[in-house]
């Protein structure tokens, strides 16, 4: 399985003033912007004495400088460029480098691929979305995705929207993505969903089977797009899932609930999951999803990932 691209940060989180620490599962990664404004990613471990580079700073010329003894590295290659007080002995052999990762920036997200020589094209997001946020969830990556498939309300919070257990269309594969459409209701005051004849809105989700990255579109019964969100769950340290998201509200909103989406905070990824509800959540769409994810994974050609081999 080729090493995937992970959306590890929002563009605005990556700056040239302060390095940002993120992780992809057990791999710590440091992100920053160099002098040209290009986002860079190195292993968050200084090869000198293993201190996290993210506790250092970004120099004016765009190199990252470790905060422990001040060694500086170039972001593109990871090569050591400078040791303080070494004056004229600043030529270092090629092994003097930190592991560098591939970086791509698009649609307001910064993505990394732990395989620096990856042949996979970086992910494209259709358009820039003004809203964005990051949530840390104490739930494993696979479990988070399963919850999204079985009850999005446990992991997402869209103002006034109630997710029902009823699907307009079952989960299926479409252009390599797992796609489904779920009926939703407005507000809290209404007949229970099982006794409701017509639903005013639906949520369409298109999910990457490998990363769980999902485009979610809220649509009303006249085919107006009310809200579009790009949600990127990334496995982080200690089984935490870090979810970055961006969203934009549709231009044509009809009805008070739909207009209410314009309020601040109308979309969010939940920081906490109701564990009591999650435990008894009965598998439904995730059953098929897990099968499809498994099939797609095993069909893909094996490409060794270079993370663990990084010197």
């Amino acid at each position: 399985m080729a090493s995937p691209w992970w959306k590890v940060a929002l563009s605005e989180e990556v700056t040239s003033t302060k390095p940002l620490a993120v992780d992809v599962a057990d791999q710590p990664v440091v992100l920053w912007r160099d002098a040209q404004g290009i986002a860079r990613a190195l292993e968050d471990r200084c090869p000198h004495r293993r201190a996290p580079l993210s506790r250092g700073c970004v120099r004016d010329n765009g190199w990252i400088q470790c905060g422990y003894h001040g060694w500086s590295y170039d972001g593109e290659t990871g090569r050591l460029k400078d040791i303080p007080n070494m004056k004229d002995e600043q030529k270092f052999p090629p092994v003097y480098k930190a592991a560098a990762f591939a970086v791509s920036e698009n649609g307001g997200f910064v993505s990394v691929n732990l395989d620096q020589k990856t042949l996979l094209a970086p992910p494209a997001v259709r358009h820039d979305m003004p809203l964005g946020g990051t949530a840390h969830v104490a739930l494993g990556h696979d479990q988070w995705i399963s919850a999204l498939f079985d009850d999005p309300g446990l992991v997402l919070d869209i103002r006034s929207v109630q997710f029902t257990p009823y699907l307009m269309s079952d989960l299926r594969e479409e252009n390599g993505l797992l796609v489904m459409e779920r009926f939703c209701q407005w507000g809290k005051l209404h007949w229970p969903s099982y006794a409701t004849a017509e639903f005013p809105i639906t949520l369409i989700t298109r999910t990457d089977p490998e990363t769980g990255e999902t485009e979610a579109v809220l649509r009303d019964d006249s085919f107006r797009t009310l809200l579009t969100a790009q949600v990127a769950p990334v496995p982080a340290a200690r089984g935490v899932t870090q979810v970055r998201w961006r969203a934009c509200i549709g231009d044509e909103l009809k009805g008070s609930h739909a207009v209410g989406l314009r309020h601040k905070g109308s979309f969010a990824v939940r920081e906490t999951v109701d564990a009591a509800a999650l435990r008894v959540l009965i598998p439904s769409a995730s059953h098929l999803a897990n099968k499809l994810r498994e099939d797609i994974r095993s069909a893909a050609p094996a490409v060794p990932s270079s993370v663990s081999a990084a010197a």
Binding site: R45, P47, H48, R49, R50, A51, P52, R55, C66, G67, Y68, H69, G70, L80, I83, P84, N85, M86, E89, K91, F92, P93, V95, Y96, A311
Partner: protein, 363 residues
């Protein structure tokens, strides 16, 4: 048997400084490449005095300390210090360790204003193995404000490696000790089987902010001579800075391994010779500086818990730290083989080695 490390310890690892002159290989012990086989958490030093408490901290009620997770309860009986592995009120249900006498008591000694516990074979306890600290009054009595207890969030050898590598100070502690700018920097390393001493000489270094404010130094630069001397077994260090213009600041910096991944320091800083302001402020700087150190050594520590095939990279400024690793591994290997003898005398006065201005420290 004091050897001079006249080459970088790393010259036969993956290091670029291959022009350094080759010294004769040491007859035994780990090879130079062993520098990377460093798992500090697994090192246990026995037959050694460890500083456990300031004398003023111990009275009739037992205080709790630990060395390598072995409990040390310390209190005074008729004014005399005792250390036991059992609390006097404990209903004993566990076996006595081999490190105490029939009553469960450790050898203990009061010296330099500190209480030292012996960890190892009780019959081998000998005051002759107490580290020499010539800037501390042997009978104690320094004011309390020159002492502190500070903990480090990492294993003890990592804390000591941090201390003996002073290049980090210019970055991590720039706000206290000044930045890295100087006209020249020289590092010399001396060692024997029980100690390592590093001398760092800086010409025209930016003045330490703390001295600017509290000692009234007006010049932009000062010459600095810093000495770090580590007593390997006891995990104790001397940090002695001579600043001209400026003050003479000798610091006792022990790193007692209470547990595998946490370290306790019973610090004593003898600032008796400095100006009033500085005398009071400088010991307090330890609280700030130690947190800065932990901010690096804490995340570092777990990354050294397992042997890694990924070698650390070294520069020529790291020779003291590398030598420290090798000496610790040498000692540990000897102890593993059942050899606990001291081949070098740690209690011999080290004033000359650290360049102490004796006239300032007469007791």
């Amino acid at each position: 048997m004091l050897e001079v490390a006249d080459r970088s310890a790393s010259s036969d690892t993956d290091h670029f400084d291959s022009a350094a002159p080759a010294a004769p290989k040491r007859a035994s012990g780990p090879s130079m490449n062993a520098v990377n086989n460093w798992v500090p958490h697994d090192l246990v030093m026995r037959d050694s005095w460890f500083p456990l408490a300031h004398d003023h901290a111990v009275g009739k009620t037992p205080v709790r300390r630990a060395v390598y997770s072995h409990p040390f309860y310390i209190w005074r009986e008729d004014g005399k210090v005792v250390a036991s592995e059992f609390h006097p009120l404990e209903i004993v249900t566990r076996d006595k360790s081999p490190y105490t006498d029939a009553r469960g008591r450790y050898p203990v000694i009061e010296h330099y204003g500190l209480i030292w516990g012996w960890f190892g074979r009780p019959e081998a306890a000998d005051p002759a193995h107490l580290p020499s600290l010539p800037f501390l009054p042997p009978k104690g009595g320094l004011p309390k404000h020159m002492t502190a207890t500070i903990r480090f969030d990492c294993s003890a050898p990592i804390s000591l490696e941090n201390l003996i590598d002073l290049t980090h100070a210019d970055f991590l502690h720039a706000d206290v000790v000044g930045d890295e700018k100087s006209d020249s920097e020289e590092v010399e390393v001396y060692y024997d089987s029980e100690t390592i001493t590093m001398v760092r000489t800086l010409v025209n270094k930016s003045v330490a902010p703390i001295m600017k404010f509290f000692s009234g130094i007006r010049q932009p630069t000062q010459n600095v001579r810093q000495v770090i001397r580590i007593y390997l077994r006891s995990h104790c260090a001397i940090a002695y800075g001579r600043f001209s213009p400026g003050d003479d600041v000798p610091l006792f910096h022990p790193c007692t391994p209470e547990s595998r991944d946490r370290t306790r320091m019973e610090m004593v800083m003898n600032t008796s010779n400095a100006g009033t302001m500085f005398r009071h402020v400088m010991p307090k700087a330890g609280y700030k500086v130690s947190r800065q150190d932990s901010s690096m050594t804490n995340p570092q520590s777990p990354r050294y818990m397992d042997l890694s095939p990924r070698k650390d990279l070294h520069s020529r400024f790291d020779q003291a730290g590398q030598r420290y690793r090798l000496l610790m591994m040498d000692l540990a290997a000897r102890q593993d083989a059942g050899d606990f003898a001291y081949r070098d005398n740690v209690s011999a006065d080290c004033s000359d080695i650290i360049g102490l201005r004796k006239e300032l420290f007469q007791f």
